[in-house]
Symmetry: C2
Subunit: 617 residues, 2 copies
């Protein structure tokens, strides 16, 4: 099901309707996802008593409606008598099981609900901030964790119930699913609220398949769809609920991002065969497109957005954004705006126009030349006075003039034009630009949502190709937008017709930045320079070419490395703090997934010593 | 000491120098704060191996330099052989004790450092995200927590060493300081990295005083100064390190926000008297000023900012911001810019000018009239085309025109003028405006730092008065800025000379918003309406007047309540995501202290029912 975060009443109404359908269909067990009542990523809303009471009321209503079947759903379990370690009321991330109108808790436990044992506190998760877990409860009650990790006895047999991370136990030193099985569980149920991340379903499949096979129990996995956010970072949930047989085969699976009901006969006898193994697909560009398209659509719904304005430069990023929205909106609800200055080539201007024609969208060309001149006239050599006397003048440098153009486009034109059009405007930044802040704050780094900001530049090109080839089946994004030199076109030095443009070199910088941000062992200049010195950097980064083709000397290599590292850890952090929300697609989206502090760039002593050696050679 | 986050080498160099001084002075015990080597609020920098190795190297260097004394300092304790529950290398928030060049760990423990037992996971703290704690270690080692909570045996006696939250144990169900004392500790040491929060030192004093008195042990509390941030939220650290005698008296205390060395003779015999009790001060407006002034200065240092531009409207917020910077910068490094449109009264324009004169700062008046006209001319009734044909026109509403003015000021003029002046520009938003988003994104809600954004409007006035009365000792902020009706002056409906202005009514809305955001039991419309219905709302909020003077009917009350709640939970969240960093002063600053999700406003069923009853009366 789709879970709406912070909307217990709406979620409960939906579940009540599903319960009635299930009862009419003679279903014996119905399973809803983790935190199906309150939602999961809801910030500090957990600290509001009235919200908690509302969730409590909803859980009771669901329980009362469970006549004739067993219903499982996730919600917040509240103990109004005890407190969390922050002194607030005791809250558990809980699984409720209702049978014939009554809640049934695990045998021997203190509550009528099942408590999550393992608390994820990495990436976007903050479970320990809000929830007391079963391990702490066991310590408090002076009982072993295993004594509290028992199945729930139902008319259908002993159900081993667990929540999300309880199955991802590799690094925790204990396995709730094993404990449940040792304590007699005949069928295992895991309810989750697990965001989509590229290739995560493959890992999930390995993890769950191993449990089912190893424990020889059917395993039901139920995950929600929808979007939830932490403010800065927006996560999609792809559902893909499924069932594993006792051999570890996935025998039924919901389609990703589909609010759907999966019905299956599951034998309680662990030896019995059931279902037909389904084939697993790999995440590729279709998965990226699926998540971006779904996430963007749902975010528009969340914000009540029906009309969208995209600033289109003729380059690939804005073209891909426009093409994504072209699938989500009627052409009359999509406005593309090209905002040329003297530095914009006729090449890119006609690419922008061609894109609008291909999409059938509204189009306007709104030049910034007059306004930039006005600003220049007002500010350049403006006298500033102190004590009534002229004491200085302001001078506009070339860089300031570049930024004036970028801000003129977004903060002056797009903000006003999109409001007049009746909606919002988009941020077209990609992850490569966002990493090093190759963007202007209040300029191209603004808008209501940055839906490509978790994609490296190379991934944006691939998505563009996928849109043309498979989504539209025709070249809505003009070939020229793929071929033109990526360029901000903010000065004569960025003339695309002369092949001049951005200082980033793809795919090298994509791969370098990826190793800083996304790789498990997140690198720093220390590792990069070590690999460079050892001649293994190409291989470590997966760079297909030779670095000697990019950098003529060690000095040039080090200068480039430090230039971008300084920006990534310096000004770019300041920019990201004020950047639009990012749609998360992969591991380590900026915001709440990749948490950052403004500290300025740091180089280790080992790096500094290595650099001296490398440059001395 | 001042701890620089993410700068282990700089922090270590500073500590090494202090060690040498202490050795020369014959000091026997020197104590540095928690996380003195790496810093504490450093985002996910903890996931970088090279950073951890650098911290390890620094800890070893400090240890090697501890000849002739006992040195205590905080750093990350790393076990490269084990892992955290997220699969990354095992990290502890640790206290290192070095004596004569060697690390000494607590008796019977597995490590040569002391491990933090209690992990704060509320407000800005994320300890469980990064650190394994002593309770988990005890579970892993199958030993009681108390067996691992032992003092360190030194030449000075048995030192009971703990970290920050270990002393704030009220809600944890166990007391590390008690355990240490039961295990023989003669003197207690608590190293902290505890951000300043209004009135927190009073609570801290109660907590520590009770421990010292109850356990009958001298208690040394060492906290750092400096600033550290989580990106969106900037925290000041006020140090205020101190020592408690066995009666619970504070007998020595460092001045807040001062990087200072506190030296004292502490008898190891618990019965011996020492020191002279110091008097405790209450946090008032001087404390707010102290934190804002210190935090702003340190944030400028962090960002390498030496010149600041402030947009001044003649109103109180921008005047207070300018006056704060007036104390931190030479007059020639401060530029005040007034940007009038047709709607700005001569009243506010002359107030802005008067302020600049009083501060002796640079001043410029840069009108926005021509640019707004240009934008209006470009966009109003602009034809937008689809399929080559004119299909519609853009219309600029009155609200859009208001926002165009606000963005013109900040994104067009201030951004460029401040860059030309050689620095940054400020965000002057207060917490009342930030709560309900009574600001324009890319307009007045932009800038490099929002240093008043944790102060309610009433607190801004009080700070202004304090600046005039006590900091400057003369009315640098003109009396008119206190008296003028608060107004955005963006339309004829906001004419201050006619007493018209913002729709917020102070102090009522300050108090209402405070109960939503800052109060421990954070209210929602449900509680507010309950109190209104019961006639107790004035008393609950601390509102000095009568609500009947503000709202002529229940309908008017409810309409106002829902108007601001909708904004607070709706559009204002979207604005805060892209807002500048906030300097935290009190509990629940926006950003990482008050975490939010974009979900839209929520009303409980109980609220809806109550509303029906209240409106029916």
């Amino acid at each position: 099901m789709e879970v709406l975060p912070g909307r217990p009443r709406e979620n409960t109404a939906r579940m009540l309707a599903d319960l009635r359908t299930a009862q009419a269909d003679g279903i014996q067990l119905i399973v809803f996802p983790e935190m199906a009542v309150p939602g999961y990523l809801i910030g500090d809303e957990w600290e509001r008593t009235s919200f908690l009471r509302e969730c409590d009321d909803c859980s009771r209503e669901l329980c009362a409606a469970s006549n004739g079947l067993v219903a499982i759903f996730g919600s917040v379990g509240i103990d109004w008598e005890r407190h969390n370690e922050d002194g607030r009321v005791r809250k558990y991330n809980a699984l409720f099981l209702a049978e014939d109108g009554a809640l049934v808790g695990p045998a021997g436990g203190p509550y009528e609900f099942v408590i999550k044992t393992l608390m994820p506190n990495y990436r976007e998760f903050d479970d320990s901030r809000h929830f007391f877990d079963l391990r702490k409860l066991a310590q408090e009650e002076r009982r072993p964790v295993e004594a509290l990790t028992t199945p729930v006895k139902t008319r259908l047999g002993l159900l081993g119930c667990a929540l999300c991370e309880d199955a991802w136990n590799t690094d925790y030193g204990l396995s709730p699913l094993e404990m449940l099985t040792r304590n007699g569980a005949q069928v295992l149920v895991n309810i989750s609220c697990s965001p989509f991340t590229m290739n995560k379903n493959h890992k999930r499949n390995r993890v769950y398949s191993t449990h089912a096979h190893h424990l020889k129990r059917p395993l039901i996995y139920v995950n929600n769809v929808g979007i939830q956010n932490n403010g800065k970072t927006v996560f999609t949930f792809d559902g893909a609920s499924c069932v594993y047989d006792t051999h570890g085969n996935q025998v039924a699976c919901g389609r990703p991002f589909e609010d759907t009901c999966l019905t299956l006969d599951i034998p309680v006898d662990p030896a019995a065969a059931f279902g037909t193994p389904v084939e697993l697909r790999h995440d590729g560009v279709e998965s990226i497109y699926g998540a971006i398209s779904y996430g963007t659509r749902k975010f528009m719904d969340l914000c009540g957005v029906h009309k969208v304005t995209v600033g289109v430069s003729g380059g690939i990023d804005s073209a891909v954004v426009a093409a994504v929205y072209g699938q989500l909106l009627k052409p009359t609800d999509l406005l593309l705006v090209n905002m040329p200055s003297r530095y914009n080539s006729s090449t890119t201007r006609s690419l922008a126009k061609g894109l609008a024609e291909n999409l059938g969208a509204f189009y306007a060309e709104i030049p910034i030349e007059d306004s930039v001149k006005l600003t220049q006239g007002q500010l350049h050599q403006l006298a500033i006075r102190g004590g009534g006397k002229k004491k200085g003048t302001l001078e506009l440098s070339a860089l300031i003039l570049e930024n004036i153009q970028a801000r003129d486009r977004s903060s002056r034109i797009l903000a006003a034009a999109s409001a007049a059009f009746g909606g919002v405007f988009t941020c077209n930044a990609n992850k490569s630009e966002a990493t090093v802040g190759y963007t202007t704050l209040y300029g191209d780094l603004c808008g209501y949502l940055a839906n490509l900001a978790d994609l490296w530049k190379g991934e944006v090109y691939a998505l563009g190709q996928h849109l043309n080839d498979s989504v539209y089946g025709r070249p809505v994004i003009p070939a020229g937008s793929f071929d033109v030199t990526p360029s901000a076109e903010l000065s004569a030095a960025q003339n695309v017709d002369e092949g001049k443009g951005d200082p980033l070199v793809y795919p090298y910088h994509d791969l370098l930045f990826k190793s800083w941000v996304e790789s498990w062992d997140r690198t720093t200049p220390e590792e990069i320079l070590e690999w460079y010195a050892a001649g293994t950097l190409e291989q470590k980064l997966g760079y297909p070419g030779k670095l000697s083709g990019l950098f003529t000397s060690a000095e040039a290599f080090v200068a480039d490395l430090e230039r971008w590292w300084n920006l990534y850890q310096g000004m770019a952090v300041a920019k990201r703090i004020q950047a639009p929300p990012v749609l998360a697609i992969k591991k380590r989206a900026f915001g709440f997934d990749h948490r950052e502090s403004q500290m300025g760039p740091h180089y280790t002593k080992r790096y500094t010593e290595l650099k001296t050696r490398v440059l001395k050679r």
